[in-house]
Structure formats: C-alpha cells, structure tokens
Symmetry: C2
Subunit: 293 residues, 2 copies
C-alpha cells in the first residue's frame, strides 16, 4: 500500500536539518511543540496554506474563505489540546484580483479570530504572478500535562471521531467550526492517548495516527458516522472534515460517552474501532499504509 507522498517528501527534505534545542515535537504531528524556558505551558506552532484552485475557488465567498483559512490552523492547535494564540497572515495577491477581495476575506478571518480569541500579530502582502494564496502561521499554548500527540496510542485503545464524515465539499469545508472546546474538554477530563484532526479524510489520517503510535487498527465500517447523503467511501476519502480523531483507554469509554452527551449534545461522538498490534492498515483500507510496504 502507498504511503502519503507528501509526508515522505517533507520527511526527506527535513532529514539532517537542525531541530533546535527547545523543540519537543518536530515535523509530523498537527503542530510543532516548543519548550519555553520559565513558562508553565509549551508553545505550539503551526503553518498552513490555502491556494486558489487547489483549496478554494475565486467564486467562493471571500469571507467564508477567510474563515476557513484561519479555522484550519485553529483546528490543528485544538488537535494537540491547545488554545490558539497569535496568527501571522501572508497574502499572495494577483494583479487581476477585484478591489475589496481581501477586505471581505478579512471580515471572515476576523470572525474566526474573535470567536476563538486569536490575535492577529502581523501579516505580509506579496504580489503573486500566479493565483491567490494565503499562508498562515499560528501559535498555541497548552499545559504540558494536557498536551496530546498522535504517537501515544496503545493496542486496545478505542478510536473515536466527533461529528460526521464525508461530503465536506457541499459547504462544510468553508464553514466548519474547529473543535477547540471539545478538545480542551477531552484533554482536561479524559486525556486521550493520541489525537489529531481529520483534514485529509479518515482513510489517510487514521493510518498516520496509528503509524505514529506504532499500532495497527481495526474499524467497524458499519459504525462510521457518515454525513447524510454520503457514501461510506466519501466518509473515508473526501477529507476536510476537521473533526477530531482520538484514542482512549477502554476503561474510560463508559464515562466518556455519558459525559460527552451532556457537554456536547448536538455533536455525535462515535466509537469506530480500536488500535491493535498489527502495525499496518487492514486489507483494502482506502488510504493505504503498511509498515512493511
């Protein structure tokens, strides 16, 4: 089965690159984690970009594109259990862009910043000879004892997803609400052993979490929380769900489920399967990954 080619390309590029003294977690998780001397919390760092005709179209409402641009990075900070901090925004702007585009874009970005208490610390604008692009760097903070990585899962730990999967292209990919509150509640009360956000689809992302945790996994396909109107395949491969995927010790399952419905009655929490010792994806898993491949 294939590995994700982008994952491998980045890993190859970064081989031999100095990591720096204070880097706790480097490339490969949702955020980098940096130790700050004297501080009680670790610093989370995330960069993310969206490119015209790859992640969005010029015909999309610029305000929704602005919301999405920032919300993607907030989702990554949430996936480590963190609170978002300060954002740096870089705009690549083609000469034929209608006047007012970026003001509308910022109105949406501003809404996301206000809602999730993100400060806009700075920005840059560059001419783009091609299409539009936006690059955002976001800091975050989390107490070291609440930090959750992708790599802490253990065989037998239950796998959960929030919300519903698939069909994001119909609109969810522009309007999703990052799971900051849910993730904070999880890390403070149930300490998942591994967590990430679903950006490329469960098919690609679950093997990443399992691989980082040195586990395999088994899923009950009948249990997938499929968005109404979508197929199982869409739920696995569409991507841009921005839901949480996490692993949790089986002993916590009962109380977790019971308290979740009290805290987040409008958001489904679904146990979809568990990690195991096979260290590979099940046969015919759509996203690939095989340790021995």
């Amino acid at each position: 089965m294939k590995k994700n080619p982008e994952d491998r390309f980045l890993r190859d590029l970064l081989r031999g690159i100095p990591a720096g003294r204070d880097l706790v977690v480097g490339p490969g998780d949702d955020c980098a984690v940096v130790r700050v001397p004297g501080a009680s919390e670790v610093l989370l760092l995330k960069t993310d970009c969206i490119v015209e005709d790859v992640h969005f179209l010029r015909s999309h409402d610029p305000a929704r594109v602005g919301w999405k641009a920032l919300a993607r990075t907030i989702s990554d900070v949430a996936a480590m259990g963190g609170r978002p901090g300060q954002a740096l925004i870089t705009l690549f702007t083609p000469s034929d862009l209608p006047a007012g585009y970026w003001k509308k874009f910022y109105s949406g970005l501003n809404r996301a910043a206000t809602r999730f208490e993100v400060g806009i610390a700075g920005g840059e604008i560059s001419r783009s000879p091609g299409g539009m692009a936006v690059s955002i760097a976001l800091t975050g903070h989390v107490a070291a004892r609440h930090l959750v990585l992708r790599s802490g899962g253990k065989p037998g730990h239950r796998l959960f997803v929030t919300g519903r999967l698939g069909g994001s292209i119909a609109g969810h990919h522009l309007d999703f609400v990052p799971r900051v509150a849910e993730a904070r509640w999880l890390v403070e009360n149930f300490r998942p052993s591994a967590m990430m956000d679903l950006s490329d689809g469960l098919g690609s992302d679950l093997p990443r979490l399992a691989s980082a945790s040195k586990c395999g996994f088994a899923i009950d396909p009948g249990q997938l929380p499929i968005r109404p109107g979508c197929t199982r395949d869409q739920a696995l491969t569409d991507g841009e769900d921005y839901e949480l995927l996490f692993a949790c010790a089986p002993s916590k399952e009962r109380v977790l489920r019971r308290n979740w419905v009290v805290m987040f009655p409008d958001t489904p929490l679904t146990m979809i399967g568990e990690l195991n010792e096979t260290f590979r994806s099940p046969r015919n898993w759509p996203g690939g990954w095989d340790h021995f491949g």
Copy 2:
C-alpha cells in the same frame, strides 16, 4: 509625498482585527512581540515570503535562494535585538519544477539554520498553479529589557547604519549575513532607542523608523556608506541591504564608535545623520513620507 502603499493597505486590512491579550507589539515593526506568561523573555514572531520572479529567479542557485529565504526572517529578529528560535517553512511548488530543486534549496536554508541556531519546527508543501513561492514564519526571543522597537527614537538621537548600501542585486541579496551578532551586542551594551533592518532601502525604511518614533530626520548625503561602484541614489533605493539602521543617544556615540571597531573591525559603522522634530522627511527625500501629506 507618497506613503508606502503596502504599509497602508495592511494597516487598513488589520483595522478592527482583534490583537489578543498577550500582544505587546502588533503589525508595523520588524516582528510582532508577544508576552509569554511566566517566561523571562518575550516571544518575537515574524512571517516573510519570497515569490519567484518577484524576489528571485529560477535561474538563481537554489541553495542561495534557500539561504536568503531564511536569512531575511533572521534579519528581522535581529533588528529587535533577538535570537532566532524556530522556523516553519511553507513551499508552493509548481508542477514543472525540476526534481531536486527543493533539496538544493534546503541545503542553503540548512546552512543558515545551522549558523544562526534556528530549529526547523515544521513545514508544508502545496501545489502551486503559478510559480514557486516560499513562506517562512520564525520565532525569536529577547529579554524584555533588551527589546528595541522602531518607535523609541528621540530628536537629537544619532542615526547609524552598518555595512554598505546599494547594488544588492549583484549578489549581496542572496548571500548577506544577518546582523544577529552585531544587534545582540548593540542591545546588550548600548541599548539603541530605535532599530530596524534595511530591506526596502534607506529611502523607504528610514521614514518608517522616523514615523514610528514621531520624529523627522536630517541626513548628511556625503556620509552615506555607499557600496563601491554604486551611486548615492542606488544606496537609498535599491533595497535588500539587510543592514541595521538604529538611533542612539548622542552621549553614547563616542564609546559606541570606539568599541565597535574593536568588536567588528570588518564591518563599517557609519553615523549618517540624526532624528529631529520636523516629523517629516527632508525635501526631495527619495522614499517619501510626510506626516501632513
């Protein structure tokens, strides 16, 4: 006289955007400055991008482009008196890019990271329908008492420039060495009242420092440290010098000059003029700026 249109555009975009509780200095200085609860140092944040055919050409040596990409952000951290920390690298890659380009690019970036002790905390690669672009976010650290902004200059303070100005396009713009050591020595021993790095040329950048300090300025054109073979106009407007421009109380001038030549014998330090109370650029200043314009 004209204001810098990019400065104004960014300021308009960011009007009304939430700054966040911990933001000490927001957009408009070389870096943003963020308070970190419990930490003895403040956090510096900088984002910067380079775009093919705007900041570099495909025919340039990719390793030198990689050096430049990271060194630009290091220069901004130095301009606040800081030490660089962790970098996040985003690559926008067109489909026709020769295989191996990014490996060569990273070899140069890696050299800069090693020399200035920058950790590479993460990165991202996105397809680009246009040309290449690179966006880098860099953290930095500086003790609050050593932090120097653009805005602390006072009338009568002497203006100094390191190195020589102009003609960067002949090669300096790809090979410059960020003035980290010089800036650290300055803030620890002479505490400049205002400082920035010269990226757009003294003509544009000096008015920014003066404006932030609510001063005007007077320059002795005969004193400009012009790179051999360049005109005075080139020294003012070529840009990409990546030298330090700083203001310092006149009482410190004599000892500063004497100790500088001992510490940095190969790097000229030139007193080019001083800040004054006019709150505008001198007549015919090439970079513009007039508070009343």
